[in-house]
Every structure is written in structure tokens, then in C-alpha cells.
């Protein structure tokens, strides 16, 4: 009987304390800065082009083969009168978020620090009605960083 009363006491103790619920869509928790949603591409503001050269390093390292990368000659290269030092540049890039396992390996293998894990709430809220909508193409992958939504830390890791 003592134990039963003790149990009742435990719940009573909880009753008088504040609820811990967060009302999710209205109340966002602050994400830690190294939060890791899905991978996105970074934008080189100095030259106004992506960092990514389409070297296929991430594509090869991806455990689930969720990436498709195509490169092209950079039309903005120094040799053709541009101001970029990248001879090759990304042409098309798809990441299938439905398949991505968010392992961070693509970020680690990238030689150009061109890919990063999204750490904003937009990166987490990707529910769609059609799986095909989860295949992100190059403009979508670049949009986040171009809009300046990412925190600074992303390129560090």
C-alpha cells in the first residue's frame, strides 16, 4: 500500500509542475548549430557561382547512392575571359532526399567545401505528397545558401 501511495505521489508531483510540451509548428526549438538535416550545396558569393566542381567525390562516397552529379566546362573560367579559377563546374546535381541517410560522408569527402548539411528548420520540413518531389535539383540545392539562411559554421566541418 505504501508503494501505491508513493506512485500516486509521483504523479501528483508531476501534476503541479509545468508541462514540457512545445507546440511544434508555432514554437520552434532553437536548432543546435551543427544540426544536420539534408545536404545542400554552397554558393561562392565572390565569384557568383557554386563552389561545386562536379568532381563526383561525394557521389562515389555516398553509401546509398542518392546523388547524381554532372559536370561541365566553366563558361566563366579565366581562360575564356571570366573571373573564376574553376576550370570545371557543376552542371546538374540531384540528391534524392527520400534515400539520403544523412551520414555526413559527402561533406567529409568534399575537396572544395562545396557541400554542407543544412542546419535550418527548412531543411527538416520536407514532407511532400509525391516522392519525386524529394529529388532536389541544383537550383533547389543552392537556394538555401544563396538566400543566406545558413549559419556560419557549416563550412568548418
Amino acid at each position: 500500500m505504501k508503494g501505491v501511495l508513493k506512485s500516486l505521489g509521483a504523479t501528483a508531483n508531476a501534476f503541479v509542475r509545468r508541462p514540457v510540451t512545445r507546440q511544434y509548428p508555432e514554437m520552434h526549438r532553437d536548432l543546435p548549430e551543427r544540426d544536420r538535416a539534408f545536404p545542400i550545396l554552397l554558393w561562392d558569393d565572390d565569384i557568383d557561382e557554386p563552389y561545386c566542381t562536379g568532381c563526383h567525390a561525394c557521389e562515389r562516397a555516398c553509401p546509398v547512392e542518392c546523388m547524381t552529379v554532372l559536370m561541365k566546362d566553366n563558361p566563366n573560367h579565366e581562360s575564356v575571359g571570366g573571373d573564376s579559377r574553376r576550370r570545371k563546374i557543376i552542371d546538374k546535381f540531384w540528391i534524392d532526399y527520400a534515400r539520403c541517410m544523412r551520414c555526413n560522408i559527402c561533406v567529409e569527402v568534399c575537396n572544395f567545401e562545396a557541400i554542407a548539411m543544412n542546419n535550418t528548420w527548412t531543411g527538416h520540413e520536407v514532407s511532400v505528397y509525391d516522392r519525386a518531389d524529394l529529388v532536389m535539383d541544383l537550383p533547389q540545392l543552392l537556394a538555401q545558401h544563396r538566400a543566406g539562411e545558413l549559419d556560419e559554421w557549416v563550412a568548418d566541418i
Binding site: 500500500m1 505504501k2 508503494g3 501505491v4 508513493k6 506512485s7 505521489g9 509521483a10 504523479t11 508531483n13 508531476a14 514540457v20 543546435p32 551543427r34 544540426d35 544536420r36 562516397a61 553509401p63 541517410m101 544523412r102 551520414c103 555526413n104 560522408i105 567529409e108 548539411m117 542546419n119 566541418i157
Partner: protein
């Protein structure tokens, strides 16, 4: 004149009922099916069926290089990811003869023990639901677990699939406020343990439901190959952390928690006490933690191992999580076998359950704390 009623040998024709518990049932903890043969409320036979979650993680890892496999380890044991990753990276390290820096080892230890804590919180909550507390234990357990998961998210960037350990060390340095945050979390966990302990342990109804139920003797437990809290509840002090120390477990002081009766209550209470031991271990680790590198100086870009084989085992929250890694040389395993603690623990289910009530089956299954992803891999 009426005839006297005929005397029947068997007045009623009776037969046992088969009840399919699972694969979709609120208390099978995932997709697990057991066919109960019941005579009224008594169980006369149990046939467990597993395999609904089989995804071939072993085969997948055999087609991948060593780094890519880490993410799959998370997915086999999703309540104790750090322990699973640890087994794997330790196997690779031992084969490749990599030296892990001291700081990385201490951090690994802290994270593994925190993971044990969070896994035990999950167990306490889910077990409360199995015993019939209307969600309260579940919510309490989950809230305490969330605090720990928050910390994990700050460190690794993900709430569940951490992919943080690397062969040789860690993926990146922990945040600056790591130590204070861990201490905060420990404080919270201690309170949470007290709360769950107060809610359940001494409750007479709870004890009536758990004591003497699902008993397995030490000899049977060893023979069935059970491990972890399930084995220790039967009084076998087998704990890989102490018997075959890995990381720096030989440098910290902790008790191996064993039970006396091998019943459901011992398995439950053993976990509560084990969680307190984990807190103790983490505090010792925090004192020993010093700045330093977290990866070896010379780490090849693509890890290759010489031919050989190794079987590493770690004491995961549910028991022995082992990785048997066979390499023919090169950058990927030739054979990777995951020794699942829950698979072996589940084998003993039949012995524990027969003769009990239907309600006992639920409680016994809950006390094994199975993770079906780990069983089926």
C-alpha cells in the same frame, strides 16, 4: 419415468486457442509475432517469429567501404547507436591497427554510457506501458530520453542516426560547452530516474505483476546465450565492460549489477540500477577528460585493412553487441556478422513464457527490451 442423464466422459469438447500476437500489436515493440497457444488465460506454447525487419545490413556492409558502414550500424540498433557504432569502429581499428587518441576514447565512453542511459529510459517507459500504466511511464521515460537526445543532437547533429564515430576517432570535436551540458543532462537524468523509480518500483501492483514472472535460471540463461541485463538478472555477473575491458573501462570504478531471481522484476530493477552506474561512470570520465586530438595524426583518406579477422564485442544496453569482421584486405569487409543481443535473448522467450498468463507474455517480452531492427538486421 425420465431416464437419468447419461454420464459423459468429456462433457465439453475443449481445444486450445491460437492467438497471433503481432506483427501488429501494441506491445510487441515492433514487428514481431508470437503465436500463443492458450488454454483459457494460461499459455501452453509460444512460437516466436522474427524477420519482418530483415534488410540485409550485413550484406550491405560487405559491399561498402569501412566508413560507409558506420551509418548502417546506427540503423541496426537504433536505441543504442553509439554502442553499435563503437563495436564496428573498434573492429575496423583493431584490424587496421589504428591507435585512438585518449580524448576520443574518453568521449566515446561518455557517449556510450549516455546512450545506455537513454536506452534504459526508453525501456523503463515502454515497460511501464506493457505493465499497464496508461502512458505515464512512457511519457516520463521519453521526456528524460529527449534531454539526452538533445545533447546528442548538439554534439553529432542528428537526434537518432548519429554516424559520429569514425575508425580512429571521432568525426569532429565536441562543442565547447560539452562538459557543462553533460553535467546538466546527468542532473536531469538522476531526477528522472528517481521519478520513474518512485512511479513503479515499490508499487505493490507493479511488483505483483513482475515478481516471480518469467523466471529463467542462471544455467538456462547461459545455455540460451542471453546477455546483458537479462543474463545478469539471473545472477551471472557477466559484463564485457569489466570482463574484457574496452575503451578505458578498466580505469573507472563501477559495479556490475546482478539480480537474485532472474525474474521480470530483477530485469527491470537491474536496469534502473545500471542507469545509476552509468551516471557514475560518466562523472568519472568527465574528470579524466583532457584536451587533445580526436583523430590519429596519420589517418589515410581511404582506410584499408590487412587480411584477418576480428570479433569485437561491446556491452550494449541490451547485451552483447558483437561485430565479427573478416577481411581479405582492401577497403571493405569480406564478411561482416552482427551478433545481436536481442536475437539470443529472444530465444529464451519460450522458456520464460510457457505456463504463464497472457498478460505475463506481454510483460516478459517487455522485460527483454527487444529492438526488432537489431534482431532482424
Amino acid at each position: 419415468m425420465t431416464q437419468p442423464p447419461p454420464v459423459l466422459e468429456n462433457e465439453f469438447e475443449t481445444e486450445d486457442i491460437f492467438v497471433n500476437m503481432g506483427p501488429q500489436h501494441p506491445s510487441t515493440h515492433g514487428v514481431f509475432r508470437m503465436v500463443l497457444t492458450i488454454d483459457g488465460e494460461l499459455i501452453t506454447d509460444v512460437t516466436p517469429y522474427v524477420g519482418y525487419m530483415h534488410r540485409g545490413a550485413e550484406k550491405l556492409c560487405e559491399t561498402m567501404d569501412y566508413r560507409q558502414g558506420i551509418g548502417y550500424m546506427d540503423r541496426t540498433e537504433y536505441l543504442a547507436n553509439f554502442n553499435a557504432e563503437l563495436s564496428y569502429v573498434m573492429a575496423v581499428e583493431r584490424l587496421a591497427e589504428l591507435e585512438v587518441p585518449e580524448r576520443a576514447t574518453w568521449i566515446r565512453m561518455i557517449l556510450c554510457e549516455l546512450n545506455r542511459l537513454s536506452s534504459h529510459f526508453m525501456f523503463l517507459g515502454a515497460f511501464g506501458t506493457d505493465v499497464g500504466v496508461f502512458g505515464t511511464a512512457f511519457v516520463y521515460g521519453f521526456r528524460n530520453r529527449e534531454v539526452i537526445q538533445d545533447l546528442f543532437e548538439e554534439i553529432t547533429g542528428d537526434r537518432l542516426m548519429f554516424a559520429y564515430f569514425r575508425a580512429g576517432g571521432l568525426a569532429w570535436e565536441v562543442p565547447d560547452n560539452f562538459e557543462t551540458r553533460v553535467r546538466e543532462v546527468l542532473k536531469d537524468s538522476r531526477e528522472g530516474l528517481r521519478e520513474l523509480d518512485g512511479l513503479m518500483t515499490q508499487n505493490e501492483i507493479f511488483r505483483a505483476r513482475t515478481e516471480g514472472v518469467g523466471v529463467i535460471t542462471a544455467e538456462d540463461a547461459i545455455d540460451w546465450g542471453t546477455s546483458g541485463p537479462t543474463l545478469r538478472a539471473s545472477g551471472v555477473p557477466m559484463d564485457i565492460r569489466r570482463d574484457e575491458p574496452y575503451l578505458f573501462y578498466d580505469q573507472v570504478d563501477f559495479d556490475v549489477i546482478t539480480g537474485d531471481h532472474g525474474d521480470v522484476f530483477d530485469r527491470f530493477y537491474g536496469r534502473i540500477r545500471e542507469a545509476s552506474e552509468s551516471i557514475k561512470i560518466i562523472e568519472q570520465c568527465l574528470e579524466r577528460l583532457e584536451p587533445g586530438p580526436i583523430v590519429p595524426d596519420r589517418l589515410p583518406r581511404m582506410l584499408r585493412t590487412p587480411a584477418g579477422e576480428v570479433y569485437t564485442r561491446t556491452e550494449a544496453p541490451r547485451g552483447e553487441y558483437g561485430i565479427y569482421l573478416v577481411s581479405k584486405g582492401g577497403n571493405r569487409p569480406h564478411r561482416l556478422k552482427i551478433r545481436s543481443a536481442c536475437l539470443s535473448n529472444l530465444q529464451a522467450l519460450r522458456d520464460m513464457t510457457i505456463g504463464g498468463y497472457v498478460a505475463d507474455a506481454v510483460v516478459i517480452l517487455g522485460s527483454l527490451d527487444i529492438v526488432l531492427c537489431e534482431v532482424d538486421r
